[in-house]
């Protein structure tokens, strides 16, 4: 039985191929000149260059963080190329003008753009090696005042909004990788939902890393004004490479009074081979500011890929009665390492937060939950509920839970629950003895375990996530 399962898990990474598109790659290394190059390539205004240079200054003074529970060789930041873009072509007026090779890539990935957009009713802002190639549904959204475009575009078309909000949730010196991102980010998504508008569809971005050894530094900014709401989906796949690729994105969310932002991620980047060679380093800073009263920020993530995941989507609950949520499934197999969790910073009165974290570890992998719940002195009647469950498959993997709880107001209620379980031979045998096949059994056990999180995902994402998990883990039991 284990041989069959072993085969399944050892299937090669499905999305491992490289598209041959001529890329415009900056020389390796990072210095002021490179930053100026990026900024001028992108035709940026002076204030943005200043933002980048300040971040770079800050970054130079910061040490690489070492507190996380993951191991990797020290990264040589001078060995990375910080800019790559498909050769500039004349401005694209429609999807038909997109490089057919690029379209084929999306087809290989099972994401035919126009179909996907039309069928799923999803506007896809496609990021391909750091530059947005095409944005769909933009006009329809524009009619109701929603701005959904690439970050670079927003810098030119809506500089006042970008300038007003950029760096307000994740300051340039927030952490080592956020500083790096602020200095060298190339592109990303920008989304603005004006006062009172409920975005009628899920907004979606497919990220894809393509050029070998080019770091990818995405910048995403989402703003929901008073009474606005939006659901944003982020999904990732990357081609297979043997050398590690660094990814250090920054995502900032801002919700004003009565606004709601729901941010969902399914992450399936190349995790390295079964011996732990290669794979993406995913060092991401994601943070939402629930700035207004009654605002709500909700993170849902299904993390299945990357050699290393280092990621804490967080909420700053400043507005009265604001709500923060974090639902996470982190799957690690082979030699993957994940140190992920959240921070819930309660500042306003009657703020509430919920944390549900599920980790599944197989092979020789290691997974840590790291979460901070802070109740500031001003946060009267704040409430938090945290639940961290870990599942082990096999006896070579490890899980850790690091909850940090800081309460500075006596009226707060903070609950934390944690559990660890194991899928073992006996659990599987129980299913088999009732006639249920091994594959179905594993899928059922895993999905049962992750149920509370999957319920939070938009429907088509939930289906995708369910399949992805079964695919990732089926072979590891037995």
């Amino acid at each position: 039985m284990s041989a069959v399962l072993q085969n399944l898990v050892n299937q090669p990474y499905k999305h491992g191929f490289v598209t041959e598109i001529e890329a415009d790659i900056a020389p390796k290394g990072l210095n002021e000149e490179i930053i100026r190059l990026i900024s001028s390539k992108k035709n940026e205004p002076e204030w943005l260059l200043t933002f980048r240079l300040q971040a770079y200054e800050k970054w130079l003074s910061m040490p690489q963080p070492g507190w996380q529970n993951v191991k990797y060789p020290e990264i040589d930041f001078q060995a990375i190329s910080y800019y790559s873009a498909p050769k500039p072509k004349k401005k694209l007026a429609s999807m038909d003008e997109v490089d057919p090779e690029l379209l084929r890539t999306f087809e290989k990935l099972g994401v035919p753009m126009h179909e996907r957009a039309a069928l799923a009713g999803v506007a896809v802002d496609v990021i391909f090696d750091s530059v947005s190639v095409a944005t769909t549904y933009k006009e329809r959204l524009a009619e109701i005042g929603i701005i959904f475009c690439s970050f670079s575009e927003a810098v030119h078309s809506h500089p006042e909004l970008v300038k007003k909000y950029l760096g307000t949730v994740v300051p340039i010196g927030d952490n080592f990788y956020a500083a790096l991102n602020s200095a060298v980010f190339t592109d990303g998504s920008f989304c603005f939902i004006p006062k009172g508008v409920k975005c009628p569809m899920d907004l979606s971005t497919y990220f894809r890393i393509n050029t070998e050894e080019s770091g990818q530094f995405e910048r995403t900014l989402i703003i929901a004004e008073e009474g606005a709401s939006v659901s944003y989906l982020e999904g990732c796949t990357a081609p297979r490479f043997d050398t590690n690729q660094l990814h250090a994105a920054v995502v900032e969310l801002i919700a004003l009074d009565n606004a709601e932002i729901k941010y969902s991620t399914v992450q399936n980047w190349y995790a390295g081979d079964e011996k732990g060679v290669g794979g993406i380093y995913n060092f991401v800073t994601k943070r939402g500011l629930a700035k207004g009263a009654n605002s709500r920020i909700s993170w849902t993530q299904v993390e299945t890929g990357s050699a290393i995941t280092w990621k804490y989507p967080s909420c700053i609950l400043r507005g009265e009665n604001s709500v923060g949520e974090f639902y996470s499934v982190a799957v690690t197999n082979h030699y993957q390492q994940a140190d992920t969790g959240t921070k819930m910073i309660h500042i306003g009165r009657n703020t509430r937060s919920t944390i549900v974290s599920k980790s599944i570890s197989a092979g020789y992998s290691n997974s840590s939950y790291r979460g901070l719940v802070r109740i500031a002195p001003t946060a009267e009647n704040a409430r938090n509920y945290s639940q961290c469950d870990s599942m082990l498959i096999g006896d070579q993997c490890g899980v850790n839970t690091f909850p940090y709880i800081q309460v500075q107001n006596n009226s707060a209620k903070v609950e934390h629950e944690a559990s660890t379980s194991r899928i073992g031979e006996d659990q599987l045998f129980y299913f088999l003895q009732r006639g249920i096949g091994a594959e179905e059994a594993v899928s059922m056990i895993i999905n049962g375990f992750c149920k509370e999180v999957f319920q939070q995902l938009p429907l088509e994402f939930a289906v995708e996530a369910t399949k992805l998990l079964s695919f990732k883990l089926e072979g590891s039991v037995g």
Binding site: Q427, F429, Y430, L432, Q433, G448, F449
Partner: protein, 265 residues
């Protein structure tokens, strides 16, 4: 019920098996015909639970010699799930907990898998709900247990009832009950035994693995076998269980010595 004309359902010959290189079964012989109830008794460590698990195909045990024919098929040719689908059912001594998997979902999947194997109709969730509620009455179970996770937070008695419920659902040809009586209070024992009695008929057979005679007051066996050190050392009718209860397992050994030497020790 013994009927000499019944067909042989299970034939075990010279079964040897080990776990982690240690031999546990050292030549087990057993013949079970349709319609019969067999009790296998013995002290802890005598090999009776191992025997039960080997019949179901538990991967931890290695069969080193012998043969098992089940329903005219070589049992060793079948994977554990194939054995289940062929009608071998094991009620576990320690049913495992499966968090997050709803009992009704699990039961329906198991039921439909077996049904489709038998070329019978599968049930959708609504049909299944009616069907299962009916079966649960047999075991005097609370319906809210359908929405709970499989065995999670169940009391010992609830777990055992859940096992017999699954037996009722899957209608096996051969049911092996591994110490189903252990951990049951007297009421639960009566309910479980009553369930088993209603499920036995002339076309199936039951093997009760048990330590105590107590269960056999409720489920009356046709044969009682005593297992010791990996062998069946004595086989007799239901009265054997009573004698064991009265005299203890040492009595068998004493009787064996008596037979050999003619002198009672």
């Amino acid at each position: 019920m013994i009927n000499q004309n019944s067909k042989i359902l299970l034939e075990v010959r010279g079964l040897h098996a080990s776990v982690n290189g240690i031999e546990i079964l050292k030549g087990v012989d057993l013949t079970v015909k349709c319609g019969e109830i067999h009790a296998i008794m013995g002290l802890n460590g005598s090999g009776k639970s191992t025997f039960a698990k080997i019949l179901a195909g538990h991967p931890a045990y290695e069969v080193t010699a012998g043969a098992i024919i089940f329903n005219e098929q070589n049992l060793f040719d079948l994977e554990p799930e194939e054995r289940a689908r062929a009608g071998v059912f094991l009620a576990f001594q320690y049913p495992i907990e499966i968090p997050g998997v709803a009992n009704n979902q699990f039961l329906r999947l198991a039921y439909n898998t077996i049904q489709s194997q038998r070329g019978k109709e599968e049930l959708d969730p609504l049909e299944f709900d009616d069907f299962i509620r009916d079966k649960m009455k047999l075991l005097e179970m609370n319906p809210d247990f359908l929405d709970r996770s499989v065995n999670e937070g169940f009391s010992g008695g609830e777990k055992k009832r859940n096992e017999i419920l699954q037996m009722a659902l899957l209608e096996p040809k051969l049911a092996i009950l591994d110490e189903t009586d252990s951990g049951l209070d007297i009421d639960a024992l009566r309910i479980v035994a009553n369930g088993v009695n209603q499920l036995t008929n002339k076309d199936n057979a039951t093997i009760l693995v048990t330590h105590y005679q107590r269960l056999l007051d409720y489920i009356v066996p046709d044969y009682v076998h005593v297992m010791e050190a990996g062998r069946i050392i004595k086989t007799s009718g239901k009265e054997l269980a009573k004698e064991l209860e009265t005299h203890g397992y040492d009595w068998i050994n004493a009787e064996k010595s008596f037979n050999k030497t003619g002198v009672r020790l």
